[in-house]
Subunit: 127 residues, 2 copies
Amino acid sequence: MSEDKKQISIAESKVMEALWRAYPLSAEDVTTDVAAEHNWSVGTVKSLLNRLLSKGAISAEKDGRRYLYTPVLSHDDYMTREGQGVLDRLFDGRVSAMLTHFSRHEKLSGDDIAELKKLIKELDNDE
Amino acid sequence: MSEDKKQISIAESKVMEALWRAYPLSAEDVTTDVAAEHNWSVGTVKSLLNRLLSKGAISAEKDGRRYLYTPVLSHDDYMTREGQGVLDRLFDGRVSAMLTHFSRHEKLSGDDIAELKKLIKELDNDE
DNA sequence: TTTTATTGATTACGTCTGTAAACATTATGC
DNA sequence: GCATAATGTTTACAGACGTAATCAATAAAA
């Protein structure tokens, strides 16, 4: 991914997800993969792939007469970027502020809390 | 806010922030408020206000010949919606998954962790 | 009363996005 | 060899978005 870090749109991210699941993939493979959630034509998928290529988020390698596409932007980097984006925008960049917000609005389930406790314990053990 | 819950764009959310800080405000007040971060013309702000009106995110009350604008969409609701949106999209809807991701990528500061511990303790006390 | 300033309403325009068709090229099947 | 299918490339279009100018109406100033 180049330094300019162009934004990936929602539809484009769905194509990225297909590639993150298993790569490299052809345009047809991607179309089939996302069909579970999006009834897109191959034309649509090709458009999205070409936009992602322009943005440097994926690379393409010729395979016979078709291309096989590979993610350049990693799933982890994308999650970090998007997650940090909303934290910066809405929660002073702090995940704890987001957690506080959700806990005050009863958005945390018992499972969530149990997992959080476990995670905090792990973080403690790491120190 | 009506049931359809139209999306608020980034620029529109900046206008919302001005209104959340202190309402009701006129178009000129908003322009002045956001000037710290955005050197927008009054025209731009009016456009954004009218879009927000169309989306039902704000309401307007006549004050002489101008309007004073008031948020309908609350800051808390917006934060919940946006936060949950990215959680749903990227983290299976779980804040703990997001936290796990950030902790694995060394994105949690010592302060973050201390706050999280405090929060978990508070959650424990709530039960 | 006329002119100017203020304010809302409307229009404008380039870029991005979602979706996909149209076109061009090449490989495959008959 | 010709027709068809596969695949890439390009074009298309409506709506959203960022930004702001233009137009219309009204109040205030001269």
